[in-house]
Amino acid sequence: MMRGLKKWRLFGLAAALMAFLAACGEEQISTLQPAGQVAEDQFDLLLLSTGVMVFVIIVVSIIYVLAIIKFRRKKVGEDVIPEQVEGSKRLEFIWTAIPIAIVLFLAVPTVAVTYQLADVDDMGVVDAEGTPASVTVDVTAKLYWWEFAYPDLGIVTAQELVVPTDEPVYFNLTAADVKHSFWVPSIGGKTDANTDGVNTFYLTFDEESADLEDGVFYGKCAELCGPSHALMDFKVKALDEAEFQAWVAAMQESTGEAEGELAQEGQELFEQSCIACHATSGAGTTGGIAPNLATFGDRNRIAGYLPHSEENLKKWISEPQEYKPGNLMPDPGSLPGREGEAFSEEELDALAAYLFGLTVEDDM
């Protein structure tokens, strides 16, 4: 449907303006550099509507500027009383009819694309052997993190969504506590995560994320959800089919076992104080109290937004409220087995060694 509108891309001012701005945006987050069919359809609508609207603005501007120049008092004369015109039926007709035509012109693609983007009929369709033909992800938004479960594959992860490219990926979206909104600007528009009910939608990822600046698309929470709403970021890795299958297999086999002495110390600490909320195996289902950490070592950010360094991890563990106000991770002192005591520098080293060792990408 949108193919016919492609010609608008070459259209005058709008396109020139957009091309200029596309150069400004960051590829991994800009709606102006779509990397999926949904975002592309939306970008086409943006160009179409901007083109039409720029036309409207030009018409208004011409009349406006001419009127101001021609009929300014300096030119017309101080004491001149202009003719008191009542109106003109013909003009009223023209400027009623033309906007109606413009609106109809915009309404057709609007309605068509609205239905097209809502089409999730193929979600959960299975082939002859009962294997689902497409990937479905159950997304649960929580204060202030994202859980991504793959019910058909028996795996669950958090904070970094991993998807295959070049096929529709279906989503079931819900919120566990307050309303949030799921948004990956360069892939497609947002859908709200409501506390009542599940929203379903699809996205396609047409480019592998590996070529991007940090190898991921950026995702955002787009609905005010409390103090750390601004920090409720997530990331998206889009892998080709083979890599995705390898990732799934690695996830299914991940155990959360540490390698190396320091990391094993860390694992002991973790199992004493953290395991009650954080799972470390990717095999599992939705409903985690806190983010699943099976892929922690593969991630791009600490706490969703801080650079992925051991130093930041230690800061975050030690003072969670300082870095993400209002989040639900307890201070170290109140964790099981801590009896009011914060983690020492050595303990933090051990935890960091353990957590950074949690990776499935090495096993792919």
Partner: protein, 627 residues
Amino acid sequence: MSSTAQAQKKGFGATLWDYLTTVDHKKIAILYLVSGGFFFVVGGIEAMLIRIQLAVPANDFVSAGVYNQIMTMHGTTMIFLAAMPLLFAFMNAVVPLQIGARDVAFPFLNSLGFWLFFFGGVFLNLSWFLGGAPDAGWTSYASLAIASGGHGVDFYALGLQISGAGTLIAGINFLVTIINMRAPGMTYMRMPMFTWTTFIASALILFAFPPLTVGLFFLILDRMFFANFFAVEMGGNTIIWEHLFWIFGHPEVYILVLPAFGIFSEIFAIFSRKRLFGYSALVFATILIGFYGFMVWAHHMFTTGLGATANAIFAVATMAIAVPTGVKIFNWLLTIWGGNISFSTPMLYALGFIPSFVAGGVTGVMQAVAPLDYQLHDSYFIVAHFHYVIVGGVVLALLGGLHLYWPKMFGTMLSEKLGKITFALFFFGFHATFFIQHFLGLLGMPRRVYTFVGDQGWDLYNLISSVGAAFMALGVITLVINIIMTSVKNERVGNDPWEDGRTLEWAIPSPPPFYNFKQTPLVRGLDTYWIEKMEGNPEGMTYAEPIGDIHMPNNSIIPFIMSAGLFVAAFGALYFIDGDKAWPLPVLALGLLITLGSMAARSLKDDLGYHIHKEDLLKEGGQPGGH
């Protein structure tokens, strides 16, 4: 003769008492103007704090929690406590004069409406000093509003409930006034445009505020009295809040912008020295916009998940509003076309409004394209859009209207020179602040974020936006200086200080005597004062009656007490849920008792008003305010 001179004569206490008890629409206008202006400055300071925080990435000027309070209060204050009352100020000051009336239909209710708004606004803002302001956004979506700790959201719900009642009362009052109090000869199709837009906006208030009232009561009951309207785990539903809020919220935009259109219509006609082009088309466009305004609320909920059919219907319905709005723009353009344009300060605002509002309108149509809105919604694009509509439409009208009507309200002209500087600073600052925000949204920046990580392509644009905001602030400061200097100089002006006035308010002294018209005028056409002037009538009016006794209402302190009772009751309701204090329930009861008691007093005691006698009127117009 002037009210200020009168005030100095009367002393501070007497003046204060006069304003606490007044039922005169012109004084109530000044009350609305002063308190609305105060809240405008408060909301503006909050805006500046927002832009300081967002000027650079990872800023820690304010904390996350405080930012959400500031952002919530900025929106709530600007909409409910600044824009609405400032428009009511002009409606009160001008509409009764425009229709040749001696006052509004219900002067007592007029006072009550103001005091309810005032106490609601004060209550809401006291939250800053009593544990923290509301922090769930001006929309206070249910799940977050219920989850929000502390009493902030309680202040929001109760404060808006009280001030909303005032707004509803004011709206009904204007409806009745415009239907019933028009001077002989003023048919509906001879009503000045500002009166028309006030009329339609009042009708919108009548239908739009009740859904808000219902939603706020649900919120109050859920948060303070153990109800579960929005508690999903108890079978409640949070989406219903979104519907109730936006069934109010979308018409609210027109409640604000229609009177703004009215003010601009007056300005275009006066400063082009020309009759409004296509007056009847403008009237019908106004009615149509008001009507459509109730059928499009779900365009705020395209991403909520209402389904493709609902989204498609609301998308097309929303686009349809562009048609009557376009009709208005073109009629204004054709009003100045062929006119004799004077670039006085009010006209600068009106001329600045056209491109600004067209920009806000076209981005509105873009957002009506539902699938595109999935990208634009809750991003900085929408922030840019609604500021183009509300600042580019409403605030420019308020500033233009302030310059236009200042001489009528206070009998002295604001400085044109400072006025033009204000306009230049504000207009430039406005576009610098908000134009760039469209692109921030397109580049992926969500709204309502207290900070942002650098290097996402947003750093420079945010800085530009913050610098622009500083220019707006400079503009407002210049305006305040202008007001102070003008009041000190106090050079008196005559009936028609802009010299090209067209409607009845310009036919009487500035400020008008407290009874407005010594004799009720006879209206002989649209722009009746212009007609009389053109025919060389030195009085500027044809009279519908001989000079006779005038019946006037008495002042009353009851509206103040009635509103204060609700203010007291609100504290009881607010702290009731804490359960650790004994006083909330008695305070709630006491407050309601004060309100009900004053209602009883008003109902049981006849107040028949008084008469200004013919003889006194013949002796040089009687003493303004002399009762």
